[in-house]
Assembly symmetry: C2
Homo-oligomer: 315 residues x 2
């Protein structure tokens, strides 16, 4: 048992119909979440920084093909995985973000390179891919990211002329029933530092160049050692307009709301604007919150007792 | 006199050395600010919406070649004007933003088209330019945006191997002494609605693909009828990390701070992170604030008395 370390990860929130998610597929999701959370917890307990841990956890989530990030990201209207990611260090509020990148094997690691190896916070488009090359962040060809299921999903969405979130109800049918969304991680380390990271392929069949909330500091990703670290998932446009992650920080900092209330009310604001989704958060006192206003959210967390917990639905 | 309408515009904050700004050049700046604010005020008093007024004011600021936006934007490391803009409607918090665009004559109008004619909030890169074409937002060739002064500025910065803000002290020398930054506008209309818009060419000699705070909703641009409309200018990386514009909203909403205190303290947070700049804001009660922590900020505003006021320095 450790009084300081905390961890939460997510693999997206959305319409996850229990009846349509096969036991085998559910076990696959739960296994991946447990393994990734377990590895991250192990690292935290051995003194890894929150920043290193959220980066590595998101890399692992990016590698898992059923989550919408990195390998297995959803495809845009041109059939390409066009990815966004961000990372933020609660210590001194350093941040890095990328959007519309096509090549980094781990977009979250490119976001970290932007934070640490550029004078900038936010790089987008082809030049962000070029920056990956400059920084020797591993790159892969477009085919690496594309799984057969994602290609089929995009073809169906294109045929229907729809832009859809990965977890859109439309895709809760047939072969597409159990797709998931954005991935993210938040952690508090032995030194009490907080960090957050988020990575996504965005929306199936999206217009190329569309940027959601994941790489927008304050919307989908935020961390401040004095308050909270947050990673969000959902209909990004509404999370941007709600400035969701910073709203949680602000409710805690200026409104003196506890984390549970702050995250619930911030998410209610997203809902009031018309959006759905969820988030994971850890605050400076080690409280965890994983609220969502969808049918489910792929998630795992570790509290003070050191037990790795995994959940998809409300119970 | 009108009890509701309010207006503020800015043409950037930075090191504006009084001694080095020639009287003729200063008169040119003051004249442009007075004319643009006067036109915007006239429209507001005749019933134009805050949204229409901030868009038009920013278009006018984009057209003025001495401000860093639209025609006369600073040039990136490839010698191109690569522009970012955002607009937000305080009514229902609708928002649109673009980054890394090369072609729209008025980037702020493309941001509005994203808000009104797409399902998205934020479009970046070549696809945002393509969207301009789709929406028939007027486009111009790269040469339209490039002024001889900006080309010289970029060549000097490239020779020095520096990325600089338009108002960086380095450029407060010789031929480059009186350059300015980002532009923006905030307004409160006859119906009490608020809106904010911001537009910029970013940093001289910047890495292509770099995105500053201007198009980041919550950082450089934010509006909510229930609290405040904000447009910021300065070292964007720090404004992103501070989530400056939403921080002002949050201090007012959750901390019950008056606008003057909220905007001063939010800017102090930017300073604490290492950044400098300024902002303009109007709140739901019609209070105006135009703080900055630099030597000057090009600005104009109209309060309840209907008088257009213009200032560059502190006094």
């Amino acid at each position: 048992m450790n009084p300081r370390c905390r961890l939460a990860i997510h693999g997206g929130a959305g319409v996850i119909d229990r009846a349509s998610l096969s036991p085998a597929r559910e076990a696959e999701f739960r296994g991946a979440l447990a393994r990734i959370a377990g590895d991250a917890w192990h690292a935290l307990m051995h003194g890894a920084s929150a920043l290193d841990v959220v980066e590595q956890a998101v890399c692992d989530l990016e590698d898992f093909p059923l989550f919408n990030a990195g390998h297995g990201a959803v495809l845009n209207a041109e059939g390409l995985a066009e990815m966004d990611a961000a990372i933020m260090d609660g210590h001194a509020r350093r941040a890095g973000a990328v959007a519309g990148v096509l090549s980094p094997k781990h977009p979250v690691s490119l976001a970290r390179a932007v934070m640490e190896q550029s004078e900038h916070v936010f790089l987008v488009g082809p030049e962000a891919d070029r920056f990956a090359q400059l920084c020797a962040v591993p790159r892969m060809p477009p085919s690496y990211f594309i799984t057969p299921e994602r290609a089929e999903q995009q073809r169906q969405a294109a045929a229907l002329g729809r832009i859809t979130l990965d977890h859109d109800a439309l895709y809760n049918q047939g072969a597409l029933r159990d797709k998931t969304g954005t991935v993210g991680a938040v952690a508090r380390d032995l030194d009490g530092h907080l960090a957050a990271a988020t990575s996504t392929g965005g929306m199936t069949n999206k217009r190329p160049g569309r940027v959601g909330d994941s790489p927008v500091i304050g919307a989908g990703t935020f961390a401040d050692d004095d308050s909270v670290a947050v990673s969000a998932t959902g209909h990004g446009e509404y999370f941007i307009r709600a400035v969701l992650a910073h709203d949680i920080h602000a409710r805690m900092t200026y409104g003196r709301q506890p984390l549970a209330e702050a995250s619930r009310e911030a998410l209610a604001k997203v809902r009031a604007l018309g959006g759905s989704g969820g988030l994971i958060a850890v605050d400076r006192d080690g409280e965890l919150a994983l609220p969502y206003n969808t049918e489910g959210m792929y998630r795992a967390w570790v509290g003070a007792d050191g037990a790795v917990r995994v959940a998809i639905y409300a119970n």
